[in-house]
Symmetry: C2
Subunit: 687 residues, 2 copies
């Protein structure tokens, strides 16, 4: 869906005023652009004619602006999100983001934008893999790898109808409205095709160290972190032949590009200086090492785009480093849901699904005592899958992923869980944007967690009053990559042997091939805070007999696990089948294509029970594994369980939701679902 | 310290440009101000001459802008902070805040600004109590009470040298640079003294309901949430007499003011329409009920100041309510420390203490393995004392305040603690700005917590890598209002009787009057997560014998409490004295003027031990109370303790800090401190 801008003529008065200002005051207009377009007293040779132009008028209101970003891998995807947040914070125009991505970044960003639902933002993806052959012949030493070079081929990749676009590196942060930058297109002469900011280091002067041989450039050359491209003219001018010719010629004498695309852009510009429109340096304040950026801006109002182009990133030293860092941190921790806002005064441009969502929300009755439950159920949380690098092994036919969800207060469980479960995990984390950064630092500081490649962390951003437990489970479940999943909870530690044992059991039992089976992992609990984990079933039984362990929820809710039949499990040598009974909520291993959790259950209560009912209704058999076990560790009560215990409304609403769930069951499974309703209406004494 | 702005002449070119624009295009200039200055097609009678004036030029760079705010009580103080954050986010000029406060708000805001240390912000306080007699004769029905009316007397209250100021209600949020608003002063005619935005409701039209008799006003009248005051001219024109005369005359016919100062401002303006400079309505977008604000703005760029002047506040309905709410939420959750930034291009204006702090930080050696510890110790955290309403009882000579600190992961302890300790508490909470809002909702949702008037919550904002445990304790300790304090930890539940017992013991033992005594409350722990709290010492001893309870840290660190002599405590009928020994860290009750905690100890380790050493060095006697006890509940290990256990550097640094602490002790207490050093060097076997 490509949105079209609706250009609106600027008032004639405004235009005239601007022209008068331009002619009267030439290079020194009243605002916006200082004389500091270039770093030294005078502009570099050949660049003097437009360096001091006035700030051009803003593009017409509601005009669609196009932005292209090359993004590959987990870390760049995180960076890109922070860039996009800063863009959205200041923008007042509809945006079309053109994202050139590898498979990882596409997966992440597609999910993110689908769930972010920002009005007046359209996103298109382009496959970076397909572009590799176009540039892989260029030897390159820059850390951006091949991806940096892809900026060269954008005129051929972006839609032919697209006349102009702004190209951004993922490590820039906006401090102003991108429409102000877009406005410089109006200022290009007929020959100009590329808008760039001068480099703010002496790299291209070739005097940084001995034997430093940079690529040719005009003076300090230009930085390609922020580029304005007239795509139409580049295509007409045969850009592809132009840069290839230049690159090939230079590569006869130089071994490789050092700064990827930037070297080639500069070499072309050196040859054809009339192609470039130099932009005011505030549009790409470069915080590289030995940066000269301080010469560029006179005051905070001048700063438009900050470019973290040092390998040290935020730790770079600069007189105003704190100022820049605070700007970056503002968007790093900014609650992305606050950017889901319509553009005031432009035609409403809702993303897919947003209109139905708004209608559904509008139909909710605010007086309904369960209003908050229903709203939580409808909430579409922003989701950032594989927030951290993740390199799963190729899938194995009997492999199992542990699936669980958590929030900040359970982070301490992760290390123990990693020690107990060497296999793949898919974990949904319910966090604010700021907490996601704390989580990132937590993992980086933990040798145990940083060493793991097969744990995928999916951040689901917080929104609403209740913990959306089943939505979280569904996110983690959907991201599991193995044929089987162990649907666990974060407070359980599996037996050390469980991962191996499950894979063997799956193979031996001949699961798969249409057989619907749920393998039950019997659940125990310790009320003791310090606790030595049993290394075998025999040890576990001894602890059980000694009263150090209990079967899970033995004291408050035995019905939840009674059908597992712990007495039989004690003696069992091989898997045995058990029957569903009301309120059964075992921890199970199932094929990945199992039913999803019912998202109407939020907060505490009935969230797992409903899923087990669904499995039973779909004809899953429950097989208890004789050597499998997991143990629940004690923790402080969650805020949701406290609410459940203290609130009548909470309990009443849960009852209402249960009834609605059963009505839905009847609708879907007909008479077969009757047994669940009957079971529900039986008095719930101890099992 | 009153900062002086350094007006700088605007470039003549800029000025000329502006004038040309003004004369050529009259009321329809190019930018900033739309024709929507007023709500209807035509401006109200008498107001038409300047309603469509162009956006005036910005004030000179680095000019000091003056803002006055009336603020009283805990809730308004929280509101004021959000307003100030939005101001600071967009401002580029130095600011002088003139805060008219009651004692509560002064206490809160003085601490906040002292610890916030924002460069180029000066804060002056004015005592609202002294102003009450000036306006208490006016009958008033508005929810702002007398404080709203105080805006009338500001010309006489603010310094006589102050020529102009912007007056703001605490419920406004800025969406733009306040300098743009200040710029309208340049636009006042010689007679104009008050800049105001028209009301965006029909209140003053008198047709809202039957028998509604509003005060006189021009048309819809003006809203006083945002006021530009020419203080100099108001003083010259005899403002005080003017408004009093009008008010008294109107009060002959009207029973009271309904909208406080606003009624009187409007009545004066109705009489003297030439006093007012109408401001574009975007500078006070009013979200009252039945608001007409939507007629005011055409696009987001127009919005300058949002005014939440509905009693429903954020729940108000409006076409763009989500947009406004997101703006407000942005600043509500904004990390205030990011606003601690110098104004680029203005002379550095550091707040008191900031320069020494910067020097101390600059002297730290980044290569020092303990760098992060030392930096944490130097960090000045923003502190918002009594974040929630707090109404302590008048102090009683033997009263005791429970002092503790916590972060989000211990919120669940608060209800239990309130049940165990009916007396006053002073709690420091280590939170982000966003978490502080979550905490607020948590308390509001808890009947137990909302009912308590004598629990003071002090928010210390998060900054740095370590939990600043001793800084937190010092904040809570400094805010205790009773003569005695019980220095506890958040994971301990005191015996139900402890509060009463302590007060009786303090009285019976004749504490106070120079006797330096620390009453020891013996500490126990349960490793069981579910646990029935003993109602007496006898019950506690039975649980101890049954192995359900232990003396605190019996398993890992018996030295910490061994000197309490639990064997003797079993039998004790009256208080007994014990001697300090190495690593002793009992929970004690002391007079409020006890030594502060040593803030060099951050994170886990030695933070309480050092305080007890200090008590001993100052000659405190330790008296164990025979009927007192507190029990530690189990919880997941804190992130800091995990770090301590896993990191050599952490333990090495703690050792270094301990040695430095002992050197300081020797310096202060001479030979008497030798015993602590000797004790430290003894091998640390089990006690």
């Amino acid at each position: 869906m490509l949105l079209r801008g609706r250009p609106r003529a600027l008032g004639a008065g405004a235009l005239l005023l601007l022209l008068i200002g331009f002619f009267l005051f030439g290079g020194y207009p009243e605002y916006g652009l200082r004389r500091a377009t270039v770093l030294d007293g005078g502009p570099p040779a050949g660049l003097n004619h437009s360096a001091c132009a006035p700030q051009p008028p803003l593009p017409p209101k509601c005009e669609l602006l196009h932005v292209a970003i090359v993004c590959a891998g987990h870390n760049s995807s995180r960076e890109a999100v922070t860039l996009v947040k800063s863009l959205l914070f200041y923008r007042k125009n509809p945006l079309h983001l053109h994202l050139v991505t590898d498979a990882v970044a596409r997966n992440i960003l597609e999910t993110l934008f689908r769930t972010w639902m920002v009005p007046a933002v359209v996103v298109s993806f382009y496959d970076a893999e397909k572009l590799k052959p176009l540039i892989s012949w260029i030897p390159n030493k820059h850390y951006s790898g091949l991806y940096g070079l892809m900026k060269l081929v954008l005129p051929g990749v972006l839609p032919p109808s697209l006349a102009q676009a702004i190209i951004l590196d993922t490590d820039v942060t906006f401090a102003s409205d991108i429409a102000e930058l877009w406005a410089f297109f109006a200022h290009f002469s007929d020959k100009q095709v590329i808008g760039l900011v001068e480099n703010q280091s002496n790299w291209y002067l070739g005097n940084i160290w001995k034997n430093h041989r940079p690529w040719p450039a005009l003076g300090r050359g230009f930085n390609t972190g922020v580029i304005l491209l007239r795509l139409d003219r580049l295509r007409q001018a045969g850009w592809e032949q132009m840069w290839k010719r230049t690159a090939k010629r230079e590569l006869l004498a130089l071994p490789a590009t050092s700064l990827a695309d930037q070297d080639i852009f500069n070499a072309v510009i050196k040859e054809h200086p009339d192609l470039v429109q130099p932009l005011p340096c505030v549009w790409n304040v470069q915080l590289s090492e030995h940066t000269l950026a301080e010469r560029c801006y006179l005051e905070a109002a001048d700063l438009k785009v900050i470019h973290w182009n040092s390998p040290k990133k935020l730790r770079v030293k600069n007189k105003h480093a704190a100022f820049f860092r605070n700007l970056y941190l503002t968007f790093l921790g900014y609650d992305g849901k606050l950017l889901r806002r319509d553009l005031i005064g432009c035609p409403s441009q809702l993303p897919p699904g947003a209109e139905q969502l708004q209608q559904a929300l509008a139909q909710l009755d605010e007086e309904d005592p369960c209003f908050e439950f229903r709203r939580q159920q409808l909430t579409v949380h922003r989701v950032h899958i594989t927030f951290l690098p993740h390199q799963p092994l190729p899938p194995h036919p009997h492999d199992v992923t542990l699936v669980a969800q958590l929030s900040m207060d359970r982070l301490q469980m992760l290390e123990a869980l990693c020690r107990h479960w060497p296999g793949p995990m898919s974990l949904a984390l319910y966090l604010t944007d700021a907490e996601a950064q704390q989580f990132l630092r937590f993992v980086e500081a933990s040798p145990v967690l940083s060493a793991r490649q097969n744990v995928a962390y999916h951040v689901v951003y917080r929104e609403g009053a209740f913990y959306p437990v089943n939505q979280l489970r569904n996110v983690a479940l959907a991201q599991a990559l193995t044929p089987y999943v162990f649907l666990s909870d974060i407070d359980f530690l599996p037996a050390y042997s469980l991962y191996d044992y499950l894979r063997v059991s799956i193979e031996q039992l001949g699961l798969g091939g249409g057989r619907k089976t749920a393998l039950v992992v019997p659940a125990f609990e310790t009320l003791h805070y310090r606790f030595s984990f049993p290394s075998s079933k025999a040890e576990l039984l001894a602890l059980l007999d000694a009263g150090s362990l209990y079967t899970f929820r033995y004291h408050e809710w035995p019905r939840g696990h009674a059908p597992t039949d712990y007495a039989r499990w004690r003696e069992a040598q091989k898997p045995y089948q058990v029957q569903w009974a009301a309120d059964y909520e075992p921890y199970v291993v199932v094929a990945r294509d199992c039913p999803r959790y019912d998202s109407r259950f939020v907060g505490f209560g009935w969230n797992k029970v409903a899923h087990i009912v669904e499995l039973d209704a779909q004809g899953y058999e429950f097989l208890v594994l004789p050597e499998a076990f997991a143990i629940h560790l004690p923790h402080a009560p969650s805020l949701d369980i406290s609410r459940f215990r203290s609130s009548f409304t909470y309990r009443d609403c849960l009852q209402t939701l249960k009834e609605e769930f059963h009505q839905d069951l009847s609708r879907r499974y007909g008479a077969a679902a009757l047994k669940y309703l009957t079971a529900l209406r039986q008095p719930q004494g101890p099992a």
